[in-house]
Amino acid sequence: MADGALVDPAGPFRDLSDQDLLFRVIKKKECLRRERLSEAFMLGTGETGLSVCYDCLASEAQSIVQLDSHGVAQLLHGGVTALHLAVVPDHPKHAEIRGIPHKETNRVEAERLASELATISTIAHVQRYRKPG
């Protein structure tokens, strides 16, 4: 930069609106079944939040996160914040849903929020994706 100011390469990012769509990549094929979708919203060990994509098409989400997966669920940003959860962007097309506890620290809340997030989600894209390499 001409003025010598430091620019954070990871930000800043735009504010998300209630109508913004978030895309959650589905790693287990069985989670594509409506009644099993909640498992896709359980926080993994060491994760600080649930990985979601935004500002992209549902069909692009799998290649953004580059995980072996079977499809993509979509949910509205407004639906997530209504559950008192925050969506924190960490990339122009990627964010984390924060505020979900791990089942080891708060099992009831972890399970309840997984159910709630599944309830406000729909399957938006079904395709087998294998990460490159």
């Binding site: 069985e30 498992e39 089942k103 099992r107 009831v108 399970e111 309840r112």
Partner: protein, 217 residues
């Protein structure tokens, strides 16, 4: 099924019972009735076996709206459910509970052998899950009073560290058994309905009670 159930019911309204109470040898009428009853029962067993196999076959495709639980519920809702279920058990030599139990154990074994999308469960989770499931679904446990005959089939999966999760859904009710991968990780039973949700310790007795809760009206 033709008219076999009616034939069976019809025999129940005749008078063989009165004759059988006496010390006299069975009358010809009674022998005929018994033979008809036996024939009817054999025919009914065959019919139920074929119908059940057909219905269970329908439950095989992953996208089918049928499941074993649906089949049993359908049978249960028929007025002659008691007889049909009894014949179902006689035909297969198993109860709905033992069938579902076998399916769950088989699913856990498949996870242990390695399955796509899944982490291989730890020995600790494997042994805990098998012991609790088998005990909760055991014939002894499920012949207790007030245990439902409807047995929803759960989904068996793993968490990211090799714990086992068994998930049942029935209407708006959800039941999730979480078997921790290691002794220091949480093993619990989570239940949820429109009016309540909580988690409790996971053992065979509590699981059996929650399975009853899952399907009670």
């Amino acid at each position: 099924m033709a008219a076999q159930p009616n034939t069976l019911c019809g025999l129940g309204t005749s008078s063989p019972t009165r004759s059988s109470r006496s010390s006299e040898p069975p009358s010809e009428e009674l022998r005929d009735s018994l033979e008809k009853l036996q024939d009817s029962l054999e025919q009914l067993k065959t019919d139920v076996q074929q119908a059940s196999l057909k219905l269970l076959e329908l439950s095989t495709p992953p996208d089918s709206s049928f499941s074993g639980g649906d089949v049993l519920q359908a049978l249960r809702e028929m007025k002659w459910s008691g007889g049909v279920l009894k014949v179902y058990e006689m035909t297969y030599g198993i109860t709905p509970a033992s069938r579902v139990s076998s399916q769950i154990i088989s699913a856990i074994d498949q996870l242990k052998a390695g399955k796509e999308d899944e982490v291989v469960p730890t020995d600790f989770a494997y042994m805990t899950a098998c012991a609790v499931i088998q005990s909760a679904y055991s014939r002894e446990a499920q012949t207790a009073r007030n245990v439902p005959r409807i047995m929803p089939e759960p989904w068996v999966t793993t968490d990211d560290v090799g714990g086992i999760r068994v998930l049942w859904n029935f209407g708006s009710r959800k039941l999730r058994a979480n078997f921790g991968a290691r002794p220091e990780l949480q093993t619990y039973l989570y239940y949820e309905s429109n009016s309540e949700l909580n988690a409790e310790p996971l053992d065979a007795e509590l699981l059996k009670r929650r399975l009853t809760w899952l399907t009670e009206r």
